[in-house]
């Protein structure tokens, strides 16, 4: 469009520039602070040029927060959650979209209701379940009397017990148990032309073949988008890992931020804290920068 609005353009550019500074300033400060020694970082006003202690600070933070081990756990945790989400939601959405069986709409709503309540909101009882993931089944056995029956017949007392506290499954499984990805996949499946399923039927393939040969390869962009989002989301989880991994050997990086808060006494070593923060926040940021297109696209279609 031919349009000459120099003043308005200048205003826009100015405000965008201010926005850019607001968006980047915290990154800049974290980076700059992480390059100074403890004395320089506490100078007011803070020096705005980088110092030369970056590696020292990272080393110190790395050691203090046990980052080698914790970053490894974080990668494992986030990858597993993202992978689990992709696998489970692509399958569940397939069942919902491509099958007609009695109770299908109940199933649909049962899955989509989980969108409503984030984990943080139901944290207390979820924690209790994690203490024994089989408790629900045990309760069902008790209430229905099956347990009593088994006991009467075989003399065996059924006692289902599977503690998930301080374990990788305990960290991962509750994170996978929501419908976000299922929704994304459902939306995608609905856009796949009916003829494709029909053509594959004419070619002689059944549902499993169709899912594996046609649907999954076609959903690659979705898969990448969902994987990116879920990886970032899982990496940034805080409350659940904090609760479930009291044993440090299962801890993840983000919960280690707490150990980096400078002590109230003496000169606060913000330089080390910021170096640690930088290391911990970098992986999802790098992923988003490189996968921006997928990330944005996936985010928009999951939330719709």
């Amino acid at each position: 469009m031919v349009e000459r609005t120099p003043i308005f353009n200048a205003i826009c550019q100015f405000i965008l520039l201010v926005g850019l500074i607001v968006a980047l300033l915290p990154f800049a400060i974290v980076i700059i602070a992480s390059t100074h020694d403890i004395r320089a970082v506490n100078i007011v006003p803070m020096p705005l040029t980088p110092g030369s202690h970056f590696l020292d600070n990272v080393r110190e933070a790395w050691h203090r927060a046990d980052l080698g081990h914790k970053l490894f756990n974080s990668i494992l945790f986030a990858t597993a959650v993202a992978f689990g989400k992709v696998a489970l939601s692509s399958m569940a959405a397939f069942a919902i979209v491509y099958f007609r069986f009695p109770g299908r709409s109940i199933l649909f709503w049962a899955i989509f209701l989980t969108l409503m309540l984030p984990l943080e909101v139901r944290i207390v009882p979820t924690y209790a379940v994690a203490a024994n993931a089989l408790a629900p089944f045990q309760a069902i056995l008790n209430v229905t009397g099956i347990n009593w029956l088994i006991h009467a017949v075989s003399g065996i007392e059924v006692n289902l017990q599977w503690g998930l506290l301080n374990s990788y499954p305990g960290l991962i499984l509750p994170m996978v148990a929501t419908a976000t990805g299922t929704f994304l996949y459902r939306q995608f499946y609905l856009t796949v032309p009916d003829e494709l399923a029909e053509a594959s039927k004419m070619d002689g393939s059944g549902p499993i073949r169709f899912f594996w040969d046609i649907l999954l390869p076609l959903s690659r962009p979705n898969m990448i988008a969902l994987f990116t989002i879920m990886f970032v989301w899982a990496w940034n989880q805080y409350l659940w890992p904090l609760l479930v991994t009291t044993d440090p050997s299962f801890g993840i990086a983000v919960t280690q931020l707490k150990t980096l808060i400078p002590s109230e006494f003496g000169l606060p070593d913000w330089n080390v804290a910021m170096a640690g923060t930088l290391v911990i926040m970098a992986p999802p940021l790098i992923l988003v920068i490189f996968m921006q297109r997928w990330f944005v696209r996936g985010l928009i279609s999951t939330e719709k």
């Binding site: 469009m1 349009e3 609005t5 308005f8 353009n9 826009c12 550019q13 405000i15 965008l16 850019l20 968006a23 915290p26 990154f27 400060i29 007011v44 006003p45 803070m46 939601s89 399958m91 569940a92 069942a95 099958f99 069986f101 009695p102 899955i111 969108l115 409503m116 309540l117 984030p118 943080e120 909101v121 139901r122 944290i123 207390v124 009882p125 408790a135 629900p136 499984l173 148990a177 419908a179 299922t182 609905l190 399923a197 039927k201 549902p207 990496w235 940034n236 805080y238 409350l239 983000v254 931020l257 606060p268 913000w270 923060t277 926040m281 999802p284 940021l285 988003v288 920068i289 928009i300």
Partner: protein
């Protein structure tokens, strides 16, 4: 919308859904039911019997000024950060959508904050907003003692709101920009032919067409402010000073896991759940209107 081409095998269909079903049963429905049960009973954590107490937990809760404090703090936090995050994101998206010079860079950089973990940016802002070091300490040097989030409740609240809004500007920006880009170009061109300039078009054409997105984001931002705030609060203020930043989820965590008051925490969970469900219902109504899946 329904598929015309479907498969008839019920068994295979259910098998595909089964893993998800088992997971959501164990980690969603059972705990949610459990929360209901606990909210109406009194129980010793880990063992001991449950005693049915009806609404007693709720009565206790609702007569507790500390709980009301956490509700009002949550509201201030939710509304404050939502207003800032949405307002700024809207302006940035409207201007970025004009595709002036450098819009490609803006489009990607404004998204970055959303990639940062809430506790990480909590720690970053704790430093940036610290009274004795960092960036904001500057104003303490000019007016000594004017800013101290560690001692002043209002300052602490402002600090957590700034941190949270900063992250969600990125999130809202993504949605506003994509909504703007889905407005047909021809509409903007028609308005230009009708003689309206860029600022006028934003007000007359683009903003009204953004209302569904605005509403959707409003609800999402408020629900997120309930949950994603935990990390920020836990790192920046731990609910203090003097409970000034004790938001609802933080209080649930504190009462349930530090105070070991399961029944009280469960009752708080139920109230929060009801709140979130209410918000989501409102949102579903409007989303249904926006996305036309038949």
């Amino acid at each position: 919308m329904e598929k015309r081409a479907t498969f008839s095998s019920t068994t295979i269909g259910i098998l595909f859904a089964l893993p998800m079903l088992v997971l959501i049963f164990v980690f969603f429905y059972w705990p949610s039911g459990q929360a209901l049960f606990w909210a109406f009973t009194l129980e010793q954590p880990w063992g001991g019997g449950n005693r049915w107490v009806g609404f007693q937990n709720f009565q206790q809760l609702l007569s507790d000024p500390v709980y009301w404090n956490s509700i009002s703090r949550s509201m201030i936090f939710g509304l404050g950060s939502t207003a800032i995050a949405m307002g700024m994101a809207l302006i940035l998206a409207l201007f970025t959508d004009r595709e002036l010079r450098g819009h490609g860079a803006y489009r990607s950089i404004f998204v970055w904050p959303y990639a940062i973990a809430a506790p990480a940016l909590g720690l970053a802002f704790r430093f940036i907003l610290a009274p004795e070091a960092g960036l904001l300490s500057l104003i303490n040097q000019v007016w000594p003692g004017i800013w101290n989030p560690a001692l002043d409740g209002n300052d602490a609240m402002i600090a957590v709101i700034i941190a949270f809004s900063w992250k969600y500007i990125g999130y809202n920006f993504i949605f506003f920009l994509s909504a703007l880009q889905s407005i047909p170009r021809s509409l903007i061109e028609a308005a230009a032919m009708d003689g309206s300039g860029p600022a006028r078009r934003m007000w007359d054409i683009q903003l009204p067409l953004l209302t569904p997105t605005l509403f959707f984001l409003l609800v999402i931002n408020i629900t997120e402010s309930f949950q994603d705030s935990f990390g920020i609060v836990d790192i920046m203020t731990q609910g203090g000073p003097a409970r000034a930043t004790e938001l609802m989820v933080y209080k649930i965590y504190f009462d349930g896991f530090k105070g070991l008051d399961y029944s009280g925490a469960a009752a708080q969970s139920i109230i929060l759940m009801v709140l979130v469900i209410l918000l989501t219902f409102v949102q579903f109504r409007f989303i249904e209107r926006r996305v036309h899946y038949k």
